[in-house]
């Protein structure tokens, strides 16, 4: 039921998520932040059951830090994406089974190049310029394809995200009022709620 969607612009990446936690017919919380900050220039939006989301998120975050301590620097986006993919891929044939969550990993490298990666629970990995996880796929991919153009500015990107949110609020059966949006640029991460 989570919606995670994002797009990559000329010098930034945006990942947005809905804020709701539901339990059967009850909405427990509306302001849950499902986008994990891996470091100052990387964010990982995770969609899935609460427990899997939290535990896999922590696993990725801590391993990411461990590699930083072992090697002396944080991995760049491509390395991080492949590393997270390998965690997913190892799990699918393990005793405990796959990590039941999907993700969108986005960020900006030290040279300013933005990237956005689509990861799923089986260990699929694709570099994308716009995409979504979960039910949001069905509602937003057409809109994102239509609105996207290469080298978007930050303001244009935010406008597109606002249109996506409006679309979900209009057409998606599950009412999702609050959305958390995070933007990564060379300067860092900005977060706000829409």
């Amino acid at each position: 039921m989570d919606s995670i969607f994002g797009l990559q612009g000329g010098d930034f990446v945006i990942v947005a998520c809905d804020g709701s936690i539901a339990h059967s017919i009850l909405k427990i919380k509306e302001t849950e932040d499902k986008i994990l900050k891996l470091d100052d220039h990387k964010i990982f939006g995770i969609s899935g059951e609460g427990a899997d989301r939290n535990s896999f998120g922590e696993l990725v975050h801590k391993n990411h830090c461990l590699i930083r301590y072992k090697t002396g620097s944080y991995m760049n986006l491509q390395e991080t994406a492949h590393f997270v993919r390998s965690m997913y891929a190892q799990a699918i044939r393990s005793r405990d089974g796959p990590h039941q969550c999907n993700g969108l990993l986005g960020g900006v490298d030290s040279d300013g190049t933005p990237s956005l990666y689509w990861l799923d629970y089986l260990g699929s990995l694709q570099k994308i310029t716009r995409g979504a996880q979960g039910y949001a796929n069905y509602f937003l991919l057409g809109l994102l394809d239509n609105q996207y153009k290469p080298n978007l500015t930050k303001e244009e990107g935010i406008e597109i995200i606002k249109k996506c949110i409006k679309e979900l609020q209009t057409r998606f059966l599950i009412a999702q009022n609050k959305f958390i949006v995070k933007i990564v640029t060379k300067q860092g991460i900005e977060a706000f709620t829409i």
Binding site: R85, Y88, A89, I92, R93, W118, D120, L122, G123, S124, L125, Q126, K127, I128, G131, N137, Y138, L141
Partner: protein, 204 residues
């Protein structure tokens, strides 16, 4: 899951020519009926004279490709020489059989040039090697591509002819398969060079 091999979709085809080989693949990556990207690479250059095409589950394509890269790099370091295409073809078969009771959900095609002689091999997901035919197909659109290949193929084609024939076969096949398409990429390998061409297919 209607079929783990059909989950992500995709088609690949390999052909032998006169002292050359060609591989082609489509560009779609999807989740059952939904398309995620249209620039998904399924053919990998393992060595200057070996190409590996993989179709099936995206995750296992990444994993199996990484495994083969590792094997060939270790081989180069240990033996201080390049791997022959026939050796690599055997390596793929044994690597797949190692996972006999928990297989990789991929159907590989290996193509290479050994002393100018074209080598082409295909496998099922548990490593049964088949290297006697002049063209091989794989993936969800495989059966459709077979028909086009039978019609267009003739033995000992030049690289230009081969590129044309394999391109047409791929396009005809993928246009009929809903899980493959969104463009095609053709790789033609000769002794001198590797050419890569991107084709347009029906945009659905």
């Amino acid at each position: 899951m209607s079929g783990i091999f059909e989950y992500n979709g995709g088609s690949i085809v390999g052909m032998k020519g006169k002292n050359c080989i060609a591989m082609a693949c489509d560009r779609r990556f999807g989740q059952q009926m939904s398309t995620i990207t249209t620039n998904y690479q399924k053919v990998f250059k393992i060595q200057d004279n070996i190409l590996l095409a993989l179709s099936g589950l995206n995750s296992d394509i990444h994993t199996f490709y990484a495994l083969m890269e590792k094997e060939i790099n270790l081989y180069n370091l240990k033996e201080n020489r390049k791997m022959k295409p026939t050796t690599f073809a055997n390596l793929v078969a044994s690597s797949l059989y190692e996972r006999r009771f928990g297989p990789f959900f991929v159907t590989p095609i290996v193509a290479g040039l050994e002393n100018g002689k074209p080598i082409l091999a295909t496998y099922d997901s548990i490593g049964c090697k088949s290297d006697l035919d002049d063209f091989q197909v794989g993936g969800t659109g495989g059966n459709y591509i077979y028909g086009a290949c039978e019609a267009f193929f003739k033995p000992d084609m030049s690289p230009e002819e081969l590129e044309e024939v394999i391109g047409q076969s791929l396009v005809s096949g993928c246009d009929r398969d809903s899980l493959s398409g969104w463009g095609g990429v053709v790789y033609v390998l000769t002794e001198q060079k590797l050419t890569v061409k991107i084709l347009k297919t029906k945009q659905t």
